[in-house]
Symmetry: C2
Subunit: 434 residues, 2 copies
Amino acid sequence: MPIRKPLRSVSKPGHRVRVALAGFGTVGSSVVRVLAAQDFDGLELTHIFNRNVAKKRKRPEAKLVPKSTVWTQNIDDILNSDVDILIELTGGLDPALSWHRRALSAGKSVVTANKQLIAAHGPELAKLARDNRAHLLYGAAVAGGVPVIPGILQGLGGEQAVRISGILNGTCNFMLSAMQSGAEYADVLAQAQKLGYAEADPTADVDGFDARAKLTILSRIALHVELDQRAIAVQSIRPISAVDFHYAAELGCTIRQVSEAEVDGPLTRARVAPMLVPNSAPLAWSHGTQNMVVTSGKFGGDVVFSGHGAGGGPTAVAVVSDLLAVAHNSASVELPVRRTRTTGEFIAPHYLRFLVNDKPGIVSSISGALARVGANIDSLLQRPGYPKNALPFVITTEPCTTSVIDRAVRAISKLPCMLQQPLCLQILEMKDKD
Amino acid sequence: MPIRKPLRSVSKPGHRVRVALAGFGTVGSSVVRVLAAQDFDGLELTHIFNRNVAKKRKRPEAKLVPKSTVWTQNIDDILNSDVDILIELTGGLDPALSWHRRALSAGKSVVTANKQLIAAHGPELAKLARDNRAHLLYGAAVAGGVPVIPGILQGLGGEQAVRISGILNGTCNFMLSAMQSGAEYADVLAQAQKLGYAEADPTADVDGFDARAKLTILSRIALHVELDQRAIAVQSIRPISAVDFHYAAELGCTIRQVSEAEVDGPLTRARVAPMLVPNSAPLAWSHGTQNMVVTSGKFGGDVVFSGHGAGGGPTAVAVVSDLLAVAHNSASVELPVRRTRTTGEFIAPHYLRFLVNDKPGIVSSISGALARVGANIDSLLQRPGYPKNALPFVITTEPCTTSVIDRAVRAISKLPCMLQQPLCLQILEMKDKD
């Protein structure tokens, strides 16, 4: 455990902690609402930065902003001022990175919800914070209002966590929960877009990049490993169909976008992918836009955190809680993080769903391809009621590595009867003992 | 938000943090195991206190204790020494209270798992810690290895929590989970005793006193209210029978010992009791000895924490995590706590189970008694297959207050057909919206 210098004391008797807010969107305005609802009289909101301030001041929450607060379109008004804490809610890498660097270098503490920035530049910024005896807190960057980051940092520092798994993207969870009730992908995507849960371009959510950034952050604090973000395997939820939920149900499972990282000596296996999740596993409990994180430790077993992972209110709770932690001089527990080799390879049972033009010999061809790579079939499921010329059926395998099963799938996809690329999903295994 | 003096810096460059452990039982020896498994080289275990040291040194974990550590049967060896942190794992009020007072007064920080002490004397000890710029952490006092205390303190400080509910006693949860599978109370108690989950005298667990202490602590940190512990209603799980699980299942519920506190203006409703829990509610998920806490907040909705609530490994993780927090100078976020009037009165639907010698007119007498207090019947259930002369049947009511339903139950219990005191359980309502 490294010994470090105590952080600068942000709150001192007789001094109000000066706080500047950059970003007055959904989360920023909720932060103002949360602050206004409570008597945090040691805090002073000195600045709000946003583009187009005139428009932002028309939001109903602007009425809750103290008269003394300076509204500005120039970030220098904050970075060159004597504020103690910068709340950065603008998101993205540029120009947020330079703001963080300037604030921390000047000894200002930073509270942020910026997952992309912390995933990509967290270690550099944490070092800068330490060197300047400032705080850098980012509890809102993962799982919104679920206090998984402070819970792990302050409450599981003594654990040797070997695995984390989680539902880190509320959009995917909303969509897959809705598909569980029988809807098809295109319809639930349209619905999610209408409700404001999904972007016009849903790539970051459905293809796993949003969750990948969060998994990078969680691996750092829970597993104490620094992952190579680009080496984390990502698999899109786009090819999932309603029929997969029927087959999953027959297997006692549902389907969720799962983010998973597992330490294995010098290697860390890490993956964001739709997976079959046993109904009895905690990850199957979360529905709608909820988020969940399960840490698996050597000494304490599985610990589950869940709740609302997005939205103004929950995210603002995380931001204001971090703000209070800084104001109370509450330094995070920081343990050494080691670099590891990151791989997307897992050993797991797999679910293979085929859509075929049914002809004799198909099962034999498929099982032959699996046998050639050494993958054992665990079950074969074929629900009645589908047309022969577009027949979905499922094979599950015993545990094997991702690359082995991928090799078999590549061979199988070339069979002339295949109407589309076979769907291959990992089946999540429960490991905690009661 | 009160401004407070920064805490004494426990860890300084060039100084190893000196740690003394009082209590080398299941948890204490697990703490040694957790410390030995990791490279916390800034920490030094200077003393271990226990009665009958010679016997304790025969435990296998004693081999993991550093050669330099002093074993002692005299607590003064620790309290009069220059240790930085006392880990108190002996439990109970006396003499632990005087040790805490002496350690904190001398500026030593204290880490403890002592729920009874923190429930009864937490505010006094917290003030003593503040006055002496020392840390007092007790993450292990509630829910063992589930980081609910650090999670709430550091991650939900910005929330206005209005309600907490939880499964805080693993013994009761083990017993009720087993009864859910068809076993009777006496058998599962014997089994729990055999497995070491229940004491020879199970009163503290099954009658709710253990959970009551934990609810007192959680109310302080999550709801910021100081409850009158004696005014928290407690109801025993002893009268629950396997038949109640059958009826609960018909109502889409299971039965759990639930600890619940809800702020209502100047009043806090607080109760530890077996309750009907809808299968879709998070509290129904935890099985075996698991613990769970659900906080319900005005801004962020419901947040769920769950995991292993007891046992050496999980509890030691909480203790060592607190130890690291102190060693990292990580002060807890402390928000003002207000006194409230505590009442056991809840407004809720209720489950009434009668055991009667069946005669005509019984339902009419019971429904008359309910009508006289103004309680509306919601459903009436009678499963087939029971003898007429010892017939269990169930009535559920619409929401009404505890005292109103108790008045009706008192009247009903006097009916000559009643073979035993009617069982009256609150039905837990789910309030979180997705």
